[in-house]
Amino acid sequence: MKPPPFAYHAPRDVGAALRTLAQVRGKVLAGGQSLIPLMNMRLAAPEHLVDINRIGSLSAIDATPAGVRVGALVRHSDAEHAGAHPLLTRALKLVAHPAIRNRGTVVGSLVHADPAAELPAVLAVLDGTVRLARWDGRAVEREVPAREFFVGPLESAVEPGELAVSAFFPALAPRTGTAFEEVARRHGDYALAGVCAVVTVDGDARVTAARVACVGVGPVPVVVDVTGACGGVDVPGASGGADVTGAFGEVDMTGASGSAAGGWAEAARAVQEETEPESDVHASAAYRRHLVGVLAERALRNAAREGAAARGA
């Protein structure tokens, strides 16, 4: 488990990094939490490694009313502790383990484009973007929306010679709640299936917009707008009161009205229909399909409840 020989570059600013990437067929090393194991197992053998860890300008987290921009060197743990975006923070707590989060980067995870990873789903459900830069006599940038960025399993829109310099996670609309529900075999594992939801309610706690993105059940994050299914649904429990949680931590929604339950279930079915789960050593496709329905319903209910609770804010 030793990598084959490679040339190592350690540029100190973005321009130098882009010039190097323009000259050589290189892989970018940020947190290295996926790349280094792949190299050690000789599944990846880049001839050039461009280490961006010395480029301080890529470590910025810029939060504005419009959203939060996360630089390419921002570690998961930095973003998590900055708490710059509620859904991002929620998702980051599900990413692997503290040691990995201390090293791995948000943008690195997006570029790696693992369909089972949480952060691509977050970017996708929020309609966020990734900023890519390359050298063409000068630094040239382009902003790629999530729906175009995730091309396939482990495949993103980053072209050879390009560096992902930041990602932008748009802020939530008022009276909007989020949730991320997943089932992993062990704490911190890639999820067998997961669903993140963003739900907006009106002043009467009726759903006006609802959108989910699913992980682990398709080649890229599966984004489904379910406003049609659950739009107008009254959010139960919006008047307040403590969450009732069972042994598994799910919110007990026994107070849900019949029509609301129907709306959530219909939305969950709509989500299931959009997914293309596969079987692997950990779970069957049928189980994953079942799971994504359960998780979609849970995520939508919990996001709606959070949105309703935020009305006064």
């Binding site: 488990m1 000789r42 089932v183 075999r185 062990r186 911190g188 042994a247 598994f248 189980y287």
Partner: protein
């Protein structure tokens, strides 16, 4: 301060070293050694047509490339079959490097030695091996069909077939008894593969100085590796030293020896005249070491209205992988330990141990017992359900009574000795576990289940271990034993034994294990035997030392040895503490000197007052020095026992399974250190939960291990393991001076049975396969609904 430490929860003395990075593991040694790496077969079954090493010759740092053809005759021989057995009619072992045919993915084909591991792996990547793929045999069903063969000369892929029968009291066999029984059940059980998975893989580092060979190996048996290396390399035994440095876990896989690398690395060191080291990486460990567990069991049982088992017939298909270096110990242990704490009327057990094109199967902590207990405890649960009785009630009617020991099960155990239980108290243990888990108060509701599992474990198998104890003139006590340590806490418990026996503070006691320079005769660490075997040997050696110390002190104090006691390192006349002499001085006096190298030593020289002019300085039959050596060799194994219970919750929607509580009552005879026993139990339970809910080796139809990494082989994290509640019962073993039994494997043995019992209780679904994942529970639920819809 007290020197009575036996039985006290003394903190592990090795932990400050191991937890602060001061441990010296194999790969911490030999910084300047050349590195070895191996080209391993990518095919499960193939004939080697040609090996072309030419493309690798230009790799900078390359030192040597070896194939089987390059090995001298002695080195290239098939590896030994360690434990022959008459029923193992077709035992086969691998060659150190593949000869003509590879029989599993990961089998070593070419050895590369280079300046460092990077260069060695670069060279490996360039070596071209031309394979002619052969049909692989994967899985028990395919192996038993025998359409394709793993070894051309092993018909039907059958390595061994063994039938053992114990007739009922009236002489009838199990088949006849079951036919005539008021109730009968028959069913099939499946257990999948797992593996030891020590955090540190295997590793070998060898140094040759032209005369002496020193080998470091991450092994569970340094003495036996030494003999194998000396014999294979044709070296006189006194010129070979083998040392097990700190070892990061073994769990059975490192008792197998010699591994190909344990022969090849020393041979390369001698051939090249350079230090050579190989440290196994995780990928290699998955595909090139050993696995265990996989069995299919067909069970027939006959019982009466009370649930008393009248006859039991078990047919086991055991997958032993591509080779049988460790013989058929695993299915033998399954066959014999299946009986557990029960009196079974008539018993017939037949196993067929078959070859597959997969990694070889050798003992992993529990060594066939988890499968055995799964079988028997599933049987007990099914009987209870059939009769509508409480599961603990059915177990209780089958227990061996506390007054019935020694109890002869009339079988032959893995040590070749009769399966006779020495002591135990199963009804009391059942009472304790029910109380600990709250069995009778358990609130039954869907999605929440309670389960139980009972086991008996033969521990402390022979043939022997030894101990050497030396008191030096500084008052320190040096204990050595030949068996090895992999983190169990031997430095602590052996020191507790020595401190207690000799009456010295534990701080003055040091312990060395697994170093053939210090102790050359040993068997190894496996089968929960270290405490029983070396613990007793060390106690016996200490008693010799104590006797000699009292004799010398009696002379010096002009007292009767019978009136002397040792406390806190001082020998004194009982009741008269002022008449005393330090043990350090006794050690000085024990070694008559001509030359005084310090003031203390002067007491032992020829003109000192203590030397008696009328006797030889070293009396006849005596030896100089205050030291002793003794061995413990038991007539047969001692039988520990335990009962576990768990409460699980299953999610009605996601089918996730959560262990909410886990309770253990354990009896390993007298406890040397309850804290260490609990630690052993906790670790064992964690591995057991891995086997029950997470771990499996997934081979595809081509014989590729598709989850050969810690990403996809799901060893549980601490976050997956519940708090383990423990209680101890102590029924001393009558077989050894300390009254102890083994504890190393206890925690892992019944866990699959317990979890299956609890999940079954929560779901009302038969759980007959282990492990069980949420996906599989979901499928069982779907199947139940389908069946309900069809009825």
């Amino acid at each position: 301060m007290t020197t009575r430490l036996f039985g006290e929860p003394v903190q592990r003395r090795e932990d400050p070293r191991l937890l602060t990075g001061q441990g010296r593991y194999l790969d911490d040694l030999g910084r300047d050694a050349l590195a070895a790496a191996f080209v391993r077969s990518p095919h499960a079954h193939a004939r080697i047509r040609d090996i072309d090493v030419a493309p690798a010759l230009d790799v900078p740092g390359l030192v040597a490339i070896y194939t089987w053809e390059d090995l001298p005759e002695r080195v290239g021989r098939a590896l030994p079959l360690l434990i022959p057995h008459p029923a193992l009619t077709h035992g086969r072992t691998a060659y150190p490097l593949a000869r003509d045919v590879v029989r599993h993915v990961g089998e070593p084909v070419v050895m590369v030695v280079a300046s460092d591991r990077y260069a060695a792996e670069d060279a490996c990547a360039l070596i071209e091996v031309d394979y002619e793929p052969l049909k692989p045999v994967v899985g028990l069903e395919e192996a038993v069909q025998g359409a394709a063969l793993v070894h051309e000369d092993v018909p039907g892929n059958v390595g061994a077939h063994l039938v053992q029968e114990v007739a009922a009291a009236d002489g009838r066999g199990a088949g006849e008894v079951i036919e005539a029984a008021p109730h009968t059940l028959s069913f099939r059980l499946d257990i999948e593969r797992s593996a030891s998975m020590p955090l540190e893989g295997r590793g070998v580092y060898a140094r040759w100085d032209g005369r002496d060979l020193r080998v470091y190996s991450s092994t569970q048996t340094s003495t036996s590796v030494r003999m194998a290396v000396a014999a294979t390399l044709g070296l006189p035994l006194p010129h070979v030293e083998v040392i097990a440095p700190d070892v990061g876990g073994g769990f059975g896989v490192k008792i197998v020896h010699p591994w190909p690398e344990e022969i090849l690395v020393p041979w390369a060191a001698m051939t090249l005249g350079r230090e050579v080291k190989w440290a196994e990486d995780r990928r290699e460990h998955f595909i090139s070491s050993a696995h265990e567990r996989a069995q299919i069991q067909h069970v027939r049982v006959g019982f009466d209205d009370d649930g008393r088992v009248l006859g039991l017939d078990v047919t086991i298909r055991h997958d032993h992988g591509a080779y049988t270096p460790y013989g058929i110990i695993v299915p033998i242990v399954t066959s014999t330990q299946l009986l557990g704490p029960y009196k079974i009327g008539a018993y017939r057990v037949a196993f067929t141990s078959v070859y597959t094109n997969t990694v070889q199967v050798t003992p992993y902590r529990g060594a066939g017992r988890p499968q055995a207990v799964f079988c028997m405890e599933r049987t007990m649960d099914k009987i209870a359900r059939h009769l509508g009785k409480d599961r603990t009630e059915v177990r209780a009617v089958n227990f061996i009574g506390p007054e019935e020991f020694p109890y002869d099960q009339h079988m032959t155990f893995q040590d070749g000795r009769p399966l006779i239980y020495d002591s135990g108290n199963y009804p009391e243990m059942l009472r304790m576990i029910k109380e600990l888990i709250g069995w009778d108060e358990h609130e039954r509701r869907p999605g929440r289940g309670i389960g139980i599992g009972c086991y008996v474990e033969g521990t402390g198998v022979g043939p022997y271990e030894g101990g050497h104890v030396q008191v030096t003139s500084d008052g320190r006590v040096h204990v050595s034993t030949g068996l090895t340590s992999q983190g169990q806490g031997h430095e602590t418990v052996f020191a507790q034994i020595a401190a207690t026996e000799l009456g010295v503070p534990i701080e003055r006691v040091s312990v060395v294990t697994g170093d053939t320079r210090r102790f050359g005769y040993a068997v190894g660490t496996f089968a929960s035997r270290a405490a029983v075997m070396s613990g007793n040997a060390i106690a016996l050696a200490c008693r010799k030392v104590r006797e000699k110390a009292l004799r010398i002190a009696a002379d010096a104090l002009e007292a009767d040895p019978a009136d002397l006691a040792i406390d806190d390192g001082m020998v004194h006349v009982a009741g008269a503490p002022s008449a005393s002499i330090p043990l350090s001085t006794v050690a000085v006096l024990a070694n008559p000197l001509r030359y005084a190298f310090d003031d203390e030593a002067a007491k032992a020289t020829q003109f000192s007052a203590t030397a008696s002019p009328d006797r030889p300085p070293v009396a006849e039959g005596e030896e100089p020095g205050l030291e002793g050596r003794d061995y413990y060799s038991p007539v047969r194994s001692t039988f520990a026992s335990g009962m576990h219970a768990a409460i699980v919750e299953t999610d009605p929607d996601t089918a996730e399974i959560k262990v909410v509580r886990y309770a253990v009552v354990h009896d390993c005879g007298r406890l040397i250190n309850p804290m260490i026993v609990e630690g052993q139990i906790h670790g064992g339970v964690a591995q057991g939960i891995g086997g029950a809910l997470y771990e499996r080796m997934v081979y595809d139809s081509h014989g590729q291990l598709v989850n050969a990494s810690f990403m996809d082989f799901l060893m549980p994290y601490a976050t997956e393991i519940p708090h383990v509640e423990t209680a101890h019962l102590e029924t001393p073993s009558p077989l050894n001076p300390l009254g102890i039994k083994g504890a190393g494997e206890a925690g892992v043995i019944p866990v699959s049975a317990v979890i299956a019992s609890a999940v079954e209780d929560a779901e009302g679904i038969d759980v007959d396969r282990m492990p069980i994942s949420p996906s599989e529970l979901f499928e069982l639920r779907e199947l139940r609904e389908l069946r309900a819809a069809m009825e």
